[in-house]
């Protein structure tokens, strides 16, 4: 029998972890002389109180859905992919190449081309650490960290030396042509007559992200490959005994992970900036770790956690704007969420399991007493 009911594991545990993170964040705000309640209200109003706020919240959430899915697919194979940031940067290069050098007739085809290119480059960037893990036993965490730095330097080099238009100082590509412009929420909802803030960055990529959530769910729980990935993640030796090739699973799961992280660039590079700049991923690759942990590696959980972090991000910029609390406060909250849901999981789980066991034995004894 399980130590505690499933709802407690899936809903109660993350909620308690989240509350602990929120309480400590509130204490940090108190310590810096701010009122946490006011701050929370500013965050809610700024991110959910208007269609413009929602537009930003969902834009950030789109980034985090891609990177959160990326981390969770790798987690299912018990690979910890910290390299989402680098894979997203490479995905950005893929989007830029696709948008700048191919004369697309319409955005519907352009987005397909950009998806293929960004997924391919992201997958390649994950494939090298995966290969080294599978064939040479190099620890995937260390190599993916190293590949983040190498990706940042590579992007820096490409922007400064090759992709930058002649005569421009800023290390960035030229703006993408108008035919690659993705419709934003105002364009899409305008078709059915719903008004939406035209200057909010949420765009068509949100729909791709939702489709990706469903696709990852189907892959992990409804296909043979997904079964093999989960089996490998549960027990490498058992999977090997069942004839599953570790090399194949490590390579495929990491390449899917890298492709998902790379496709994040459809949102931020193609949908928002419409050109490639330095450090384009802005840490979203790392937030994917928090999102995957919070979402318990389930695509629906990732979807919800991504929206939660989208809210934190948009709310955080409102804090900076309205209350002069530095944006970095969001990084603190994010760190606390990772700490409580990821590393200190047992600290919360252990007393909870004890509680449920006690409740169960009490119920059992009272039953026997009645009989």
């Amino acid at each position: 029998m399980d130590k505690m009911p499933k709802w407690a594991d899936v809903i109660l545990l993350p909620l308690i972890s989240l509350s602990l993170a929120a309480i400590i964040s509130g204490l940090v705000l108190l310590a810096t002389g701010q009122n946490p309640i006011t701050a929370l209200w500013v965050m809610i109003d700024g991110s959910l109180g208007s269609s413009r706020g929602w537009g930003y919240t969902l834009y950030y959430a789109t980034n985090f859905m891609f990177t959160g899915l990326a981390v969770s697919v790798a987690f299912h194979a018990r690979m910890f992919n910290i390299g989402g940031e680098g894979q997203a940067l490479l995905g950005g290069v893929g989007v830029a190449l696709a948008c700048l050098f191919v004369p697309w007739p319409h955005w519907t085809v352009a987005v397909l081309g950009a998806m293929v290119m960004s997924a391919a480059l992201g997958a390649v960037w994950a494939a090298i650490p995966a290969f080294l893990q599978a064939k040479r036993g190099s620890h995937i965490v260390i190599t993916t960290i190293m590949f983040n730095f190498i990706a940042a330097a590579l992007l820096n080099y490409l922007l400064v030396n090759t992709l930058k238009p002649v005569g421009v100082m800023e290390p960035a590509t030229a703006s993408f042509p108008a035919t690659t412009h993705l419709p934003n929420f105002a364009d899409m909802l305008g078709v059915v007559g719903i008004p939406f803030a035209p200057d909010a960055p949420a765009n068509f990529a949100f729909i791709i992200a939702v489709v990706a959530c469903v696709a990852v769910w189907a892959l992990i729980w409804r296909t043979r490959l997904g079964y093999e990935i989960r089996a490998f993640g549960q027990s490498e030796s058992a999977a090997k005994y069942a004839g599953i090739s570790p090399t194949k699973i490590i390579m495929i799961s990491m390449m899917i992970s890298g492709a998902l992280a790379g496709m994040m660039s459809i949102n931020n590079v193609m949908g928002e900036a419409e050109r490639l700049v330095l450090n384009s991923a802005e840490g979203a690759g790392f937030i994917g770790i928090a999102v995957a942990l919070m979402g318990r590696n389930h695509p629906f959980g990732v979807f919800l956690a991504a929206i939660l972090f989208g809210f934190l991000y948009q709310g955080g910029s409102q804090l900076a704007f309205t209350l002069q609390i530095p944006r970095e406060m969001v990084t603190v909250i994010q760190a606390l969420v990772i700490m409580f849901t990821g590393a200190l999981d047992y600290m919360v789980r252990w007393p909870l399991e004890r509680l449920f066991q006690r409740l169960r034995t009490n119920a059992a004894t009272s039953k026997t007493a009645k009989a």
Binding site: L132, H139, Y157, L293, A335, G342, A343, M347
Partner: protein, 328 residues
């Protein structure tokens, strides 16, 4: 070709300075990982220490109080890592990632709240900074040094004239070697990273041993951070650790978790950093425009090559990353 200019004394001197924080963080990682606890959080602990050192030095006017605060802050994060990784048997990598994010955020939030200078601390001067030592007999004026003989130049420019922490870091290397290979504690430490069950059977407390290792790591990270903001620079700026914790991790792998090799690895990576700041020297030496980005990432590329086992295999401590569960 003028390869000798690659050994320019000013480059070698700045190598020593850039290598110092790497070396301290690398040795911190060495204690922790030799005891079987992965520590990705070196970066965060260094950053936290850098902020606290600059903040307290600025508030009290004493760099030594700054150093104490820095060590205290790094120790606090070490304890959190210990609770997560040792006591609650959580994922050591995730705990390290969380610590890095926490430090990255909280330093700016506190700096803004305490000093309101856009996430920086005020400029430090005088007793609030570590001054450079001038060893007896060393020349200080640039003109005197230029006219001196080579041994005197080396003595004055390379050996003399660094902050206290540079010499402390260099002395930590033989000290670490001695602790690790010549003391009972060091033997236990190495054993607990390879086979904690055997250490436990011998009647030694695994939890206490691992905690002492990560506390030593905390102290060393604290010194490394204080060096960044009170010796190398004269204030704290956001993200000032700039990936040094990860380079230290890379150096640790490069050194295959051994103290003397850690010194050479950190000097090599420090040299690459020093060279990246002086593209003119490299150009003069090999007549090629080496992109500075390549020099920046060379430590990471070299580490991946080493990890892949193409140039000698790097084998980490066997029990690294595994929480120890006592059998009943």
């Amino acid at each position: 070709m003028d390869l000798l200019s690659l050994l320019d004394l000013s480059i070698l001197g700045s190598t020593l300075r850039t290598a110092t924080p790497l070396l301290l963080a690398c040795l911190a990682g060495l204690y922790s990982e030799r005891a079987g606890v992965f520590d990705i959080g070196l970066e965060g602990k260094m950053l936290m220490a850098a902020f606290l050192a600059a903040a307290f030095a600025s508030l009290t006017g004493s760099v030594w109080l700054g150093l104490v605060a820095a060590i205290g802050g790094a120790l606090a994060l070490s304890v959190v890592h210990g609770l997560a990784a040792i006591t609650f048997r959580g994922n050591q990598l995730i705990s390290g990632v969380a610590i890095n994010f926490f430090a990255s955020g909280i330093t700016v939030v506190l700096a803004q709240s305490w000093f309101a200078e856009g996430g920086r601390t005020p400029q430090l001067a005088g007793a609030a900074r570590f001054e450079n030592w001038v060893l007896p007999g060393a020349l200080t004026r640039i003109r005197d040094i230029a006219q001196a003989e080579l041994p005197m130049k080396i003595y004055s420019q390379l050996i003399s004239g660094h902050a206290t922490i540079v010499y402390v870091a260099l002395l930590t290397v033989p000290l670490t070697w001695w602790v690790l290979y010549r003391t009972r504690f060091g033997l236990h430490l190495r054993a607990v990273g390879e086979n904690p069950a055997a250490v436990d059977t011998a009647g030694i407390n695994v939890v206490r041993l691992r905690f002492s290792a990560i506390l030593i790591a905390g102290v060393l990270c604290g010194i490394a951070g204080a060096y960044l903001s009170t010796a190398l620079q004269a204030n704290f700026t956001r993200e000032m650790s700039a990936g040094r914790g990860y380079i230290a991790l890379a150096a640790l792998i490069f050194a295959k978790w051994r103290p003397w090799q850690a010194l050479w690895a950190c000097l090599l990576f420090g040299y690459l950093q020093a060279l990246a700041l002086r593209p003119d020297i490299l150009k003069r030496a090999i007549h090629l425009d080496v992109p500075s980005q390549l020099l920046d990432v060379l430590p990471y590329i070299l580490t991946v090559v080493i990890l892949a086992g193409f140039v000698g295999k790097a084998i980490p401590p066997k029990a690294g990353g595994e929480p120890y569960v006592k059998e009943r």
